[in-house]
Assembly symmetry: C2
Homo-oligomer: 326 residues x 2
């Protein structure tokens, strides 16, 4: 308690494929100051960490927070909570695996905890957002892919090796499924991510070649999930059907996830999660239709309550309160 009183702040770092955002956060979840750097600017990881250190030192000084940082929490793709390693950096310019938590801790002299971005989001939601007070919930992040963070009895489910909770890679189509970045076919994320929505739109435009659609004004390969959303909101039937299709597949999957960990709620995060009834209506309809009777009408589907701009930093920072020197 004394340590926490003397060190009332944590640092949150969210490493994305393009930008690394970071900030200083207090115990009530206020992002006091934040900034970002380009993730891929340096080909040597030590140069990247040096730049992070320079920028964060500047931020700490600006709010008089030097020597007041309890811990650093990091959300990064394929990061392992147990080992502190980034194991596989598909979009990163340095060789992996790399002991990222240790390198940052050595540089800053502050304890560091790291996990993947979806788990960081779950911890953030539990600490500051829609999951406050929930001990059993599943965070689903709908972005370029589909990520998940599973919380059981108040703890993130890491599994035997630290990589549990890859629900974007549940197989939802056993035959003729879409090719996934993981090399397999039919994964949930090939249908229910932003990328999946755009892909479904392209498929529908081809199959229903004679049907007019606002989406035909866009070069087919340039269509984004935002375009589909805009068209659907303007009343375009084909675009609305894309959301119906997406929500149905996601709802069926959530019913299956329920038999696994019996969560009190699912919490949806990311751009697609903000599609409102377009996504939620078919999602909840399919989830309830496919739900085992003991859970029918009992499992909530909530939206993230974290501000988009702060969410990544907040999620990572919440993990900072758990950081310990190795």
């Amino acid at each position: 308690m004394t340590a926490q009183a003397n060190k009332p702040y944590v640092i949150g770092i969210d490493m994305g494929g393009t930008n690394t955002v970071f900030g200083i956060v207090d115990a009530r979840g206020i992002v006091i100051t934040s900034d970002s750097i380009k993730t891929r600017k340096h080909s040597n990881i030590n140069d990247y960490i040096d730049e992070l250190h320079t920028e964060l030192t500047r931020l700490m000084r600006s709010v008089d927070a030097e020597d007041k940082i309890y811990g650093i929490g990091i959300g990064a793709p394929n990061a392992n909570f147990f080992t502190g390693m980034i194991e596989d950096g598909v979009n990163l310019p340095w060789p992996t695996p790399v002991p990222f938590a240790q390198l940052v801790s050595d540089k800053f002299g502050i304890p560091v905890a790291i996990t993947n971005d979806a788990n960081a989001a779950a911890i953030g939601e539990m600490t500051y957002g829609a999951a406050r007070g929930l001990k059993d919930f599943i965070m689903i992040t709908l972005g370029t892919g589909v990520g998940s963070g599973i919380v059981v009895n108040g703890q993130v489910l890491y599994g035997h090796d630290g990589f549990a909770g890859e629900l974007g890679h549940i197989i939802v189509k056993r035959s003729n499924g879409r090719l996934c970045g993981c090399g397999r076919t039919g994964c949930l994320e090939t249908y229910c991510s932003a990328t999946g929505v755009a892909c479904t739109a392209r498929e529908f435009l081809e199959i229903r070649a004679n049907e007019p659609s606002l989406l035909r004004d866009i070069q087919i390969e340039d269509i984004t999930s935002k375009d589909v959303y805009d068209a659907a909101m303007a009343g375009d039937q084909l675009a609305k059907d894309v959301f119906e299709y997406t929500g149905t597949i996601l709802g069926e999957a959530l019913a299956d996830f329920t038999v696994f960990s019996a969560p009190e709620a699912f919490i949806l995060f990311g751009g697609l999660a903000k599609s409102g009834d377009l996504l939620m209506k078919p999602l909840v309809r399919a989830m309830e239709k496919n739900m085992l009777s003991i859970w029918k009408n009992k499992v909530k589907v909530l939206q993230s309550e974290l501000k988009e701009a702060d969410a990544a930093i907040l999620g990572a920072s919440a993990l900072g309160w758990e950081a310990k020197f190795k």
Copy 2:
């Protein structure tokens, strides 16, 4: 420690749809004495508990274990660890829900813990069997249905309401799936249980009407999974194909379960689990083929190490060490 030294035994009770088996077990997992009664003999639950008490008192006296029982553990269908209730007794002659743990505790004056049979099996395996030393594993029971007990970080995953781990009700066929006892279609247990194996055999016999098979010597509605096993072991191609089909579906499902909780191992229990290579070869082949790359060739599939006759009592009894007065 003193309490446990003075009370070196636990009672395990496994309530099945037909028989209730029970025994007195020591801390090393030796079933010192055991017996059984008919589950459905009494239409009043108090009469059933009275008979249990009479029989167990006799057993305790026979081994001088009165006043030496640390706790009673019970495995029962649809039993809830959190509430101590049997919530839904499909095959039971008394009205449910019923506060079974409390009733037994009141009668015996001994603390009682209760859970469903698959969770009890998982605890038994962790305490005395193939899962000793494992903190993250999934128990799959292949019986009339398919049950599961999920262990995460050394604890059974109960979920928000106590009913987590109903993996027999994951949907494996989204269209034209078999009707399940739960009222939905396409559940894993309609394919990979003993009942499912017999059903697959009947389907194959119809579809492949011109193919000779040893199974044609049996009345089609009387075929059991044991008949299919015997035919397959005698070289019958159709029967072998039934196991190929069953193992493939189960293997695909285990690959999906892995992305959820990243277990170190699956442990298979029940009659079907003893089918040897007939089931295991297609199962492991399908599991590895469908496994996300980070887990390929890393997740073990083990057989239960508990003696069939003792397993139900042992699994339930292991929970007795966790029992506390409410």
